[in-house]
Point group: C3
Chain length 222, copies 3
């Protein structure tokens, strides 16, 4: 009972933070109020919607339950009104974003396992739950998705999801592996931000380098 409530609260908190990131990006691109609300909803819920469509759990939770919409709209309105202040809250937003990523990854992996997917694919779908919102947000705003380039963002989500999947395979208690996976994801992501850990880039060949100014990596929470 209490555990379920805790998971719901954490899930809605993750939704709120991810919605902030979408709304902030929309305000920067000078979208109007409605565009800001759409980007808030999309950034917070696309990952879970993609996962649910792929595992056949339709209508997706974010479409069935109006609370996800409510939380996303609230985050959008807050951002619309106080965007400059939120930009200044960079560090707390990063912290919450890492927490949301961790939550979404382990909950998503667990849900995919429950729908009977093979373990490696369940881990991938957990990762997709965590990073899908950021990908759709960036595609709508015409950016190369930042989660494909930032410091260990998707990798942290994958690591957390893998813990859940491995734990299930070894028949460990679900609550423990979900907490462990979330902590690992959160820790990896925060450490990667602090120390600038990045994955390697392939050696430059004779291919033309793409150095248009707007193709450079930027900060994912920016």
């Amino acid at each position: 009972m209490t555990l379920k409530l805790l998971v719901l609260l954490l899930d809605l908190a993750g939704t709120f933070v991810f919605a902030l990131s979408g709304a902030t990006a929309a305000v920067r691109r000078r979208l109007d109020l409605f565009g800001v609300l759409v980007l808030a909803f999309v950034a917070a819920n696309s990952g879970g919607i993609l996962r649910d469509v792929l595992i056949g759990a339709v209508p997706p939770a974010s479409i069935r339950d109006w609370r996800y919409l409510g939380v996303s709209v609230l985050a959008g309105l807050v951002t619309f009104r106080w965007a400059p202040s939120i930009e200044r809250l960079k560090n707390p937003v990063r912290l919450f974003d890492a927490a949301g990523l961790a939550m979404f990854a382990v909950v998503g992996a667990n849900k995919a396992l429950e729908h009977g997917l093979e373990p490696p694919m369940a881990a991938l779908l957990g990762m997709l739950s965590g990073i899908g919102g950021g990908i759709v947000r960036d595609v709508l705003l015409r950016e190369v998705p930042l989660v494909l380039r930032a410091e260990l963002y998707a990798v942290a989500a994958l690591a957390g999801a893998l813990v859940v999947v491995t734990g299930e395979w070894l028949a460990w208690p679900t609550t423990a592996t979900m907490c462990g996976g979330a902590l690992l994801c959160f820790g990896l992501r925060m450490a990667a931000i602090r120390r600038g850990w990045r994955l390697p880039v392939a050696p430059a060949g004779d291919a033309p380098r793409d150095d248009r100014p707007d193709a450079r990596p930027r900060d994912p929470e920016a």
Copy 2:
């Protein structure tokens, strides 16, 4: 009987006009004949396809029924052959586009209700039916979706869908609320075009303004 036929005719008319908008955008970007046909189909049918996938009504109507494909291809061929003339028909196209938006929004909301969605989410899915095609069209052509920026475009669709949902909740006759919703959406959109109504944009903070030339709002039917 007659009502059902009328709805089908209006639906196909809406499909035709939305397909014109996709094909026109493709011709402008110098896509070849096939690209023009794809954009015509996508602009006219993606909204309904997204809605149907999300509510679990697969295969989606536009995939099951070849008439939507036929109408879309026809619109694409017409545009390909007479693009300059169609560009000049801006005002009638806008009128039909607003009519298509109204149709798609109320029909979409009604279908989502029939599939058992909660009222607020059914209204959202009605809106998505109306604006989804334009969003996918713009993403494929590498634009920030114009429906997120144009004069009360998505808001008009949402208003129409809300009428349907509220009417259902108050147990009003469905035909009446669908007509009322469609009229409200159509009227709002036409008034917004005529008077230049727009939603507010957030106050500029210290965030960098995005003013690359191709990021400026343009005309959605253009």
Copy 3:
């Protein structure tokens, strides 16, 4: 037995080659290792995933069966390590890409027919299986999808799928029509590359030409 194994091998070979194309594009855009792997998977599997979601065959084959993931990751790693050499293998890659396109188109059309779609829509879904991966790859990398512009790329896929659908309608043996469709698609695509066959572009009207440098058609396998 042997036929089924052959189809599986060809399918995995097509997946491998399509994954190479996604990974190569990602390396060129300076994505990190993880981004390269994601693009490899997406380019190879999105077409089939879109088809399966649209016909209601969820979870999609590429999500249910880990071998597609394995092959995609392998192709991504190979590209990451030896990108410059792979760029030089342009001709063999084109050959395999055309073979993959042919395979995906006929297998996709066949699967759509098995799920009870109308013949013209089954042909379209076969085409989507072949070209969907390239479309998603280009959207993620912020390009106008090249398959909408290259030499008879989508048209070749459509032709192959139409053979399968027509054969089914005339009750011809499935194996024969699938082989015939695949050969037609492969032949058309190779001939189009060799002779530079292209579809016509609409006559330029008074619409502004889009000639930003990165909007020019480029080579799809590049």
